[in-house]
Symmetry: C2
Subunit: 479 residues, 2 copies
């Protein structure tokens, strides 16, 4: 119990101070540190390894759906931002501006990209001439800068890492199909890689991306009942392609503006998976993005054979493609147990003299901390993929049950407030008016999250104003 108390004091209590718990966890597990410039973060090796795993999984999905990667410049002429009216209104207030370079004042100020629609459209206008050049299916992995007043590591930082897909299509139908297709790629990825259930749907006019005609999002429920917008896809129509004079000669011999989409997810996803899966002991990392999937801890390592057997097991697991770590340090086993629990390693493997005698190891799953079980050393490497899969599925099912248990169908404003105040999403009907959204925001810091594709009504009146309802929508507080 002494050990337990010592451990728990390192991070705030998840039940009483979720915000502080999050901050403690991300810093103390060395995922991240604060950069010297306000609002910036340093992604430390343990955090960056999660991002590398996210990148590898997503990148494979983007390529499988026909996209190629490219790289566009960081600096965008200020004038580009002005070309699409909604876009400039949305982004101008939060850009960082370069005014001097090479020892001289620049003739035109440069914006550090907050997103790349404008500069990519400028290039597309040079590259696209004919319907044969379409679809244009390009993705970029990059850093972007948005100067934010209130920042938190991963969730909202002045600079973050992301991917942004930017596509052009000959027809509206094809562009809309792409917008939904990539939303579903994100959803599948969240489920099968992050073990994180998400709610997909369309954003309201108020909440859509600056310059888009339609925005779709995936919303993930955090354990405090708040929503985290974990990815978005946008249909632009021809807003940007007209503004940037992108034209193609279509099969019918006429020149047309192509239809455009963009879609992105960011290092925010790391924040999402922490808050979706973590517990009072710290991180609980989904196996398919965990930097270390299994840690081997020798017990009584001074006894003959233990170190050798642990190393042998490490080699076997490594050769089987498992991301495995052997902790041979002279810290106590108890300290190591706490450390790797806090760091969210999915599987702990203890190996001591008695285990070796019995031909087994003693295992513990991070998703079921406290339960121990033994497995034969023989064939352990071959069993690991199934074990990791089972942990993944258990984590997904737990998060799904939590999400489902915290969606309350509501019929009026009191119910909505009650639901959100007690840590839930509210699902209800909405008249479609911005006034109702403004009222929710002002009075209870609640926003519309998105409109699910299944629009089976749960009532006929707007839960805010009582007027005839047009849409079923999720309401909630959000990160």
């Amino acid at each position: 119990m002494a050990k337990e108390r010592e451990f728990v004091k390192e991070i705030a209590d998840i039940d009483t101070d979720f915000a502080q718990w999050y901050t403690d966890v991300v810093v103390k597990t060395q995922l991240v540190d604060y950069g010297p410039v306000k609002g910036t973060m340093v992604i430390r090796p343990y955090g960056y390894a999660i991002w590398e795993n996210i990148q590898r999984e997503l990148d494979a999905r983007f390529k499988a759906t026909g996209h190629e990667n490219a790289y566009f410049p960081l600096f965008i002429p200020y004038s580009y931002l002005m070309k699409e009216a909604d876009h400039v209104e949305g982004f101008a207030p939060e850009v960082a501006v370069v005014t001097h370079a090479g020892g001289e004042e620049l003739a035109e100020k440069l914006v550090v990209r907050p997103t790349s629609e404008t500069i990519i459209c400028e290039m597309y206008s040079k590259w696209v001439q004919s319907y044969r050049d379409l679809p244009m299916l390009i993705n970029q992995w990059a850093n972007v800068v948005r100067w934010e007043k209130t920042t938190r590591p991963f969730l909202r930082t002045s600079e973050f890492l992301w991917q942004e897909g930017h596509t052009l299509h000959a027809t509206e139908a094809e562009a809309k199909e792409e917008t939904i297709k990539m939303l579903k790629v994100y959803e599948e990825f969240a489920k099968n890689v992050l073990a994180m259930p998400v709610l997909i749907g369309q954003k309201s006019e108020k909440e859509k991306f600056a310059g888009a005609q339609e925005t779709y999002s995936m919303e993930a429920m955090m354990q405090d009942g708040k929503s985290l917008q974990a990815g978005t896809t946008h249909f632009f129509g021809t807003n940007f392609s007209a503004a940037f004079d992108i034209k193609f000669l279509d099969k019918d011999g006429t020149h047309k503006n192509p239809y455009q989409t963009s879609w992105g997810v960011s290092t925010r996803l790391i924040g999402a998976l922490i808050m979706a899966h973590g517990d009072r002991r710290g991180l609980c990392l989904p196996p398919y993005v965990a930097p270390v999937q299994a840690v081997i801890i020798p017990i009584a390592a001074f006894k003959g054979g233990v170190t050798e057997k642990a190393q042998e097991l490490f080699n076997a697991l490594k050769n089987a493609g498992i991301r495995v770590k052997l902790d041979n340090s002279d810290a106590s086993p108890g300290w190591k147990f706490n450390e790797y629990e806090m760091k969210g390693v999915p599987v702990r493997i203890e190996i001591g003299p008695r285990d070796i005698e019995n031909g087994v190891v003693t295992c513990s799953r991070r998703d079921k901390t406290g339960e121990k079980f033994t497995l034969p050393i023989e064939g352990l490497a071959e069993k690991m993929p199934a074990l990791l899969k089972d942990i993944h599925e258990n984590m997904y099912n737990k998060a799904l049950a939590f999400t489902n248990a915290h969606i309350k169908t509501v019929n009026n404003l009191n119910q909505l407030k009650e639901a959100v105040d007690t840590g839930n999403f509210a699902l209800g009907m909405w008249c479609g008016c911005r006034e109702c959204e403004d009222k929710l925001k002002a009075e209870m810091q609640v926003t519309t999250r998105n409109m699910p594709f299944d629009q089976t009504p749960v009532g006929d009146k707007c839960v805010v104003c009582g007027k005839p309802a047009k849409k079923k929508i999720y309401f909630g507080r959000a990160y």
Copy 2:
């Protein structure tokens, strides 16, 4: 011959105008385009795919040598740059500066990183306390900005992509060992992945990195006889760790500044491999970084069975892990031949009705353009790795022979000038004085490249001033 003329007119003659040939090749093969801001480039999918292959190969080598990736912020407080005297002198003139963000003027100007020693040292000073925290072995993949007066795609651009390794060590010997180890990792990578021979050695005081105690480089010979510095590693001693007050408690109970290294290669490598291997027809890409390793071109595709057989072959090659493209477009085979020769695809596979009858395909290697040979369709996929390896080795040997043939040992200034003027590196003795380097630079735009590890003398007097020689060094013109 008509086709040949038509093709050749697209790119300038490599023998008479190497510079224009380079520009034509990088733009017309769609590796790159010019960004809207002066000196910036857009790396298009075909170019970016080369970078992805470079990244994957290098990253595996960094991890195998114990390094982890992390990500540090883009923006560095201006004051950080001032902390190391040589560093600020080297970089201050070419930085881009952010003065405004979020609609307000910033209290302290921010530098867009030209390199990350300063901000990384700031973080290391928080992370390193004890000898147990060493070595610190971190690498970063990132974009950096250096405002250059004269720019060329890949070779010198205002913004470029690179990796920068930054390590801290308890002892001087260990840091020096790291500096040489990573230089050799680069050399091995250049040879085995880029098929590019390089000359490794130490830079002169004049040519070393701003703030380093020792800089090492790999220099690659381009086909115009000029040198391209393709990668560098630096030993800093405790210059930065003292300036940033990084201290560790050593085993002997005293506090010490750790010893530091950094090392980097950039998208410049893409320029290097183009100029090392290209020919009058365009690119000649080394197989292990080529985005497309083999292209299948159906001949008389309208005839029964050709399209199906081509698709079948495509599937077999793809399943065997070959980066293969099937060009089913309605362009003529002749047009396609030129296109993929210009784009430097290592292997072309033609498949037509007669080939199918004979159970073969007609192949052509880009490194031996003009020669055709047949291979049985049966088992072709299994033969591809050996074929690609042979192409790689042939390209390496060709480049090595070229390099060796263009290194002239020189004994005096006239011989040095003659050697360099006729497209060679000059290898000669040097007194070690900066005055001689300044004279070479001013009079003939020649710089010292590096001092090979094998210092067996080739004379005893400085080829520039005639005074007693201290070092054997390569001289040359450089990109």
